[in-house]
Symmetry: C2
Subunit: 342 residues, 2 copies
DNA sequence: AGTTAGCACTCACACAGAGAGAGTGCTAAC
DNA sequence: GTTAGCACTCTCTCTGTGTGAGTGCTAACT
């Protein structure tokens, strides 16, 4: 692959950039003009034929211009692209805009996602920080009425989860005390992965006559631990899919795909690198075979605990989008880490 | 309008029901068969011509069958339709399914919405109970870390809202006490609409040296009161829009419309009746000119405080959907009222 | 050997005409 | 008021033609 002449690389880059901008197949004449007539269109045609041979370009039909193949985009992203960083003032604006949500990871990610969707005109997807190694930092019981209370669980990963519990018996100071005692003894400081159903069951067995009052609360805690471990997926502007005509055939299937969290989750958890640009059929899900996904992990503390990125067509302005996504992932990580430090 | 002969009504109903089932224009022969050849196709043609004249039917083109006009649907819904109640066992299943979410109105509505979307194959929309006449029932401060705390506000409308606050000074018992004192004196039992920015400002002025510590909390309370008043819109399965080919032209605009809460909110708040069936261009929003919206209000206590319903094409199985929506609205109301009573 | 001009060729697209089929509107008889 | 019969209308599909963009190939040139 690396034995492609400089000129062929230039031609490839020109075709890709022009195609990204216009969405139309690029002919030899147009390239010729873009290259200031350095060589004739016939020469370019010869080179293009070679690039098709190599699988980097495609022809929609015999007498059309060329469009990049998925391998072509891959070569471009890996070897040819020069990235454009996002402007400093824009960076500053985003930072200020996000600052106010730094206390609540989910809200922060939703906001970041909607900024990203706006910026890229694509669907933005983010996963909340999930960390099965997280510990329970704190559990609080917030009485709401005689028979209902809210249980709030804060994990060391910075994730905050809450749920409302109903109890048949009145929730009074005594019960709260029992609750906090149990938390202190059995939950606080414990790894969320330890709180299995069987753990709760053995715990319940040891409670004696408090079991009936306590069990709904303990079940809630178990659920909340589960929720802390579970990656929450945030989807922003799914309708942006419809902006891209090249995806209109897949639109229906894609929409359906986007609205199911499990595959998205699997997709994200299978990504190993910090920045993942997955083009077309490189994606393991068939629904994404005509799409590109660009995701960057963000780090909370020293752990890469979540991702943010986009799903769009393969025809994407990679050179601009990749830096934007990197920037957002970076700033999310920083903010979440700062909040965690206290 | 009421001077339409019995037979014409029967023809109209047959056309509408057949068109709802098949989506294809209905010809005189087909109706003839559906009516057991009680009259000849020629007679039906004569009657159909009259129904077109009256604006209840339309012809896509001269030599096609007839389809219902929007006015035709209206006439059908108002005068001809016989509704099909949802099955008892299905009712029971839904009830059990929803029960577990009765403590959290927003989750309950989301769940109900997703059931409705599944049931109807349409987009489900619901608004959380909003009530500007609600009072503050309770405010709790939940310390999370040295500098952050969660503020939980429960309103008499059953709505629960929370937000995380950062404070520059450490959040200790003293501060909590001051906080609860302020709540007791100024907030608890007060109408959420009273908590304006100017109210907070005068309150802040009277705080003396506690002002710097308290102001982020007070601002949060103000925001939460605002959030209690604000109708929260839940959208379920927006991609169901794409299931309906007759809306494919509007799909893009509709999707966009659905993802902005404000118009949806306006639409819902402008509906006066308990059950609102708004067909096609009866909708005040242009985006909905080819859609039907069916919404039912649900009552919490004795106030109609929110809505649930669907947005779909005008070609809808009104006879089945209307009872389903009524049923869901009813059960939501019952559940929310029960939770509130305690 | 690499580059270029020239030209025939290919293919998608847009438009037009023909044939088929569904369903109508009208007329005249019942 | 109802019905049978029939010409008529309009959509849809298929086919054919013309156009234009862009190619691939060949032969000449540097």
């Amino acid at each position: 692959m690396s034995d492609i002449t400089k000129r062929k690389q230039e031609i490839l880059a020109t075709i890709i950039e022009r195609y990204i901008a216009t969405g139309e197949p690029v002919g030899s004449k147009a390239i010729c003009a873009d290259m200031n007539n350095a060589v004739s269109s016939a020469t370019i045609r010869n080179d293009m034929a070679d690039l098709v041979e190599l699988g980097l370009l495609e022809q929609p039909h015999t007498s059309a211009g060329r469009i990049p193949s998925q391998a072509g985009y891959r070569y471009y992203v890996d070897n040819l692209m020069t990235t454009y960083e996002i402007g400093i003032d824009e960076q500053e604006r985003i930072k200020i805009w996000l600052q106010s949500f730094s206390g609540e990871p989910d809200k922060l990610l939703e906001k970041a996602g909607s900024i990203l969707a706006e910026l890229t005109n694509c669907v933005a997807v983010s996963s909340s920080p999930s960390d099965s190694e997280a510990f329970i930092k704190r559990i609080e019981l917030v009485p709401l009425s005689e028979h209902t209370a809210m249980i709030v669980l804060l994990a060391t990963s910075g994730i905050l989860r809450s749920s409302v519990v109903r109890s048949d018996s009145a929730i009074n100071v005594d019960i709260a005390e029992v609750f906090y005692n149990i938390c202190q003894t059995y939950f606080n400081g414990r790894n969320v992965s330890d709180i299995s159903l069987s753990f709760i069951q053995t715990l319940v067995a040891s409670l004696g006559d408090k079991v009936f009052v306590m069990s709904p609360f303990l079940c809630a805690i178990s659920d909340l631990c589960e929720a802390v471990k579970t990656t929450e997926i945030h989807l922003q502007s799914p309708n942006n899919i419809l902006n891209h005509t090249e995806l209109s055939e897949d639109a229906f299937r894609l929409m359906d795909f986007l609205h199911r969290s499990t595959p998205l989750e699997n997709m994200l958890s299978s990504q190993k690198k910090t920045l993942n640009v997955v083009i077309g059929s490189e994606n393991s899900y068939r629904e994404l075979r005509n799409s590109t996904t660009i995701f960057s992990k963000y780090s909370v503390g020293d752990r890469e605990s979540g991702s943010i990125g986009i799903i769009g067509p393969t025809r994407l302005d990679y050179a601009r989008l990749i830096p934007s996504i990197k920037y957002l992932a970076g700033i999310i990580g920083t903010m979440l880490t700062e909040t965690l430090d206290e």
